[in-house]
C-alpha cells in the first residue's frame, strides 16, 4: 500500500501544480492534488492564510489560484525544510 503523503509533501505538490501552470482553476487543482474535496479545502485555506497562494477572480467572476513570492520561496527551500523536519523529528 502506498505510504500516506506527509503534510509538507502535500503542500509542496499543490504549490508545484500551481507553479507549473502559473494560474490554475480550483477544479483542476483539486484533481491534480489527489485530495478529497474536504481535505483540499482545508489545505487551500491554510495556504491562503499563510500567504503561499492567492485567489484571483477575473472580471467574468472566474476563480484561479496563483503562487505568491512566499510560495516560490517555500518551493525553493522545500528540500532543506523537509530534511530539517525529518532529521529533527518535528
Amino acid at each position: 500500500m502506498a505510504k500516506k503523503r506527509e503534510r509538507l509533501e502535500v503542500i509542496k505538490d499543490i504549490l508545484v501544480s500551481i507553479k507549473n501552470t502559473r494560474q490554475i482553476k480550483p477544479t483542476r487543482l483539486l484533481y491534480s492534488s489527489n485530495l478529497s474535496p474536504q481535505m483540499f479545502k482545508e489545505y487551500i485555506n491554510e495556504l491562503i492564510t499563510k500567504g503561499f497562494i492567492k485567489l484571483d477572480i477575473d472580471k467574468d467572476e472566474k476563480k484561479s489560484f496563483s503562487l505568491t513570492k512566499k510560495g516560490y520561496d517555500f518551493l525553493q527551500e522545500y528540500r532543506v525544510i523537509e530534511s530539517f523536519v525529518d532529521n529533527f523529528g518535528l
Binding site: 503534510r7 528540500r79 532543506v80 525544510i81 530534511s83 530539517f84 525529518d86 532529521n87 523529528g89 518535528l90
Partner: protein, 230 residues
Amino acid sequence: MIYDFIIQNREILKIFYGLMVVLICLVIVLRTDRLFRISLHQGIRYFRNAFFFFSLAFLIRYIMGSNVLVPIIHNNYFFIVKVAFEFFLIMAGFFLLYSLLWKKIEVSGESYPSSLFNPVILIFYLFTFSVIFLDLIWNTYSFMFVSQIILFSFASAISFVNYENNSRRHKFLKFYFIAMIFSLIAWVLNALAALLFNWNPLFAINISIINLIIFLIFLLGVINVTKYRG
C-alpha cells in the same frame, strides 16, 4: 591538572562557557527562524523557541549573573537572576519537548497563531511558575531538577522511537537521541551534585562539558541539514 586550572580560573571560564552556549544557541535560532519564516512549520517554530529560551537562560545565569561582570549589589538582583534563569531554562525544555509532540496535539491546519501565548504553552507557563515557586519556598533547585529529569525522559523516549522508525533515511535522528540521553544524564548529575555532593566543582565541570557537547551536537546538526540550498 586541567581540572585545577579550570577551578582556579573558574569565574572567567564560566563567562566563556556561557558566551559559547549563547552563541551556539543564537546561530541555531537564526538558522531555524529563517526556515520557519519560509515554511511556517510549527515544529520548527517551537524548536527555534527552545533554543532562544536556552540562550536567554545561559545569558542570564552566566553573563548577567556573573560575580565578575556584575560585582554588585543588592541581593534582589541575584534573586531575579535565579528566577529568570529557572524560568527560561524550564520553558526551553518544554518547547523542545513540544516541538516533538505538537503534531499529536494541534489540529492539522489550525495551528495556534502565537507560539508564545496559546492554551498549551500557557499550561507550560503555569507549570514552570509552580516549579519556580516551590524552589523559592524551599530555597533549592530540586523541583527544577525533578521536572527536567521527567521532561527529558519523555524526550529521550520520543526521540528513540523516531530513531527506531526513520534512522536509515534521516541520519541526525541518532544524534538527536544521543543528545537527549546526554541531557538526561546532565540533569541527573545536576541533581546529584546539588543534593549529595554540595556542588562539587569536579561534578560541575563535567556537567558543563556534557552541556557543551549537547549544544554542539545540535549546532552541527542544524548547520549540516541547512547547509545545502535550492
